[in-house]
Amino acid sequence: MSSTTAGLLQIGVLLVALALVHRPFGDYMARVYSSPQHTRVERVIYRMTRVDPDSEQRWSTYAYGVLGFSFVGIVFLYVLQRFQSLLPFDFDRGDVGPGMAFNTAVSFVTNTNWQSYVPETVMGHTVQLVGLTVQNFVSAAVGMAVAIALVRGFVRSRTDRLGNFWVDLVRGVVRILLPVAFVFAIVLVACGVVMSFKAGVDVDGNTVATAPVASQEAIKELGTNGGGVLNANSAHPFENPNGWSNLVEIFLILVIPVSLTRTFGTLVGERKQGYVLLSVMGALWGAMLAVIWAAEAHGLRPLEGKEVRFGIPSSALFANATTGTSTGAVNSMHDSFTGLGGGGALLNMLFGEMTPGGVGTGLYSILVMAVIAMFLAGLMVGRTPEYLGKKLGRREVTAAAVSILAMPTVLLIGAGIAAILPGTQGALNNPGAHGLSEILYAYASASNNNGSAFAGITVTSDWFQASLGVCMALGRFVPIVAVLCLAGSLAAQRKVPVTAGTLPTTGPLFASLLAGAIVLVAALTFVPALALGPIAEALL
């Protein structure tokens, strides 16, 4: 069988698996977030943490919950790294320095999982498990909670209550992420992924580092986190040993973002509303996959930075899945991709991570973009726009615009300053246009909470550690607060009845409008920067 045929069949298997799973799983998630019942485990957790699970919160309290929880998460993870030498299983890797510890703490709490450190020589097993694995779970659950709060904004009317953040957080972890991650961690061990508390294994007289990989690997993909337990991430045979594990990991990356569109459709009471979002996500995702695959198949050095067992199709598929979601795990080194292939991965992030986006973040980002698209449509016909029975007035559109513009703002300011700083030249691993792409990719990855890298760039200077950390934080929390504000004002409204003047949001017209808005916003914002980086490189 030719490589292309096998690659196409693999995509077919992946899509069939997602098609089979997204309905029951999406409906299950809808029940998780709307059920009035608490499980026994959850009740114990609420009692221990003195949280009243039956009280509901205003949007501002919900937002304070997200911010407060994330803040203590950053502090806890920072302290854990700074005192690593006191912890067991540290293998004398020492305390992590302040710049790196700050960057890493922000990175994992914001679901970015950008890594300025080399895990094998910097992180011991205790920080990996008690610090990083935990944030892999909870940062994902925070994203889903915010998405669900926004959906409630559309569903509810004339209320100032959006749900309870602590309940949404705990349910996301206990009922969704934990059971699925546990099952797939075992599946991954069966595929050959390691799960060892030793520091390393002997391979023909050389020591190769090991770690308790499988438990983190499963949630790393499922929660669209992406931080490798080992430096080479999912290209490392201990994280991703073969074609089976590779397919499982790609499936895990996509399963929640895809299924959440079903959850959305179910919760708003009209499943088509979810499918139209999924169709837009799927169309852009498929188009970008074709671009990356074709570009990599025609590269000058197609196997540089790729593993033989994955070759071109499985590397392109993984790259598209990881950058179309906000995962950032890699099974090949994107820095060695062609101008167009690497540019495709970059563009996936610049779309704002909604094709299909990260867990929760993808859904709320595309809903915000739907608000923008309806606003644009409303301008064209001179009507106050509506979406899902809610009027989109000044407050709603402002919140949506703030949410959309946060990422490009911090990205371009950060990358712009980095490009003119004298020290940056020495941090690059490649000359010319590709060097600029390395800078752009770094800030795109941080600002979109993706976490993948053109990894040749050395980001251990104070400037990079600090500025990328700030980009990750602002790229995460500004949109979250704006989205919750949007949810609050939507929930306060009464539903407006559907009239002959209402633009239906289940058909191809709306889908084209939404896809157009996504592409247009990205194009208008980033074409000049892209022209100097990947486009220039592709045309050379």
């Binding site: 490589s3 020589t121 799960m195």
Partner: protein, 177 residues
């Protein structure tokens, strides 16, 4: 706000116990089962390869890793300095195997993503076969048999790409009669 921070700390600590201690321990516990233990501890693993010096061995792909860590070169395809490195590798390999440079396959001159890629292409394995046979006092046919035996096919016939596992092949070579 302060109340939410305090609640956040309590929830974080409880979830840390659940997802940072109990969960990995549960996975670790299951990984002790007889069928899974060897995978989990990477016992005699052939998942990774580190190049062995000496003409009697099959060579791996070039590696940019600094052991015990892993990693790739991250060199872009328009990097002229790296073109020189690749050209040197090609010349060295052509000389070592006594073939024209055009016969040296791509995977032989490019660094893998992990720096620990256990596989090489069948073409690169066959290119090395005459030398390895000579140095080990084996027939070329026997060495080619070993290559076939240690070729990993696509999983389920369609996932990933085939490749020859160098670590397994070299170990088999050592034991071969």
């Amino acid at each position: 706000m302060l109340r939410q921070v305090a609640a956040g700390l309590r929830v974080l600590l409880v979830l840390t116990v659940l997802t940072g201690i109990l969960y990995p321990l549960a996975v670790w516990g299951v990984s002790r089962l007889p069928g899974l233990h060897a995978n989990a501890e990477a016992v005699d693993t052939t998942l990774v390869a580190v190049d062995r010096e000496g003409d009697q061995w099959f060579h791996t792909r070039p590696s940019a890793a600094t052991l015990p860590a892993s990693g790739g070169s991250n060199k872009g395809e328009r990097n002229a300095d790296y073109d020189t490195v690749v050209a040197e590798r090609r010349a060295t390999i052509a000389h070592r195997e006594g073939v024209p440079e055009a016969q040296v396959p791509q995977d032989a001159v490019t660094a893998s993503a992990s720096g620990l890629d256990p596989h090489i292409s069948t073409a690169y394995a066959l290119l090395q076969a005459p030398r390895v046979a000579r140095e080990n006092g084996l027939t070329e046919d026997r060495v080619r048999e070993l290559i076939t035996e240690h070729t990993d096919r696509r999983a389920a016939g369609l996932l990933g790409e085939p490749g020859v596992n160098v670590t397994a092949l070299n170990r088999a070579l050592k034991a071969a009669p």
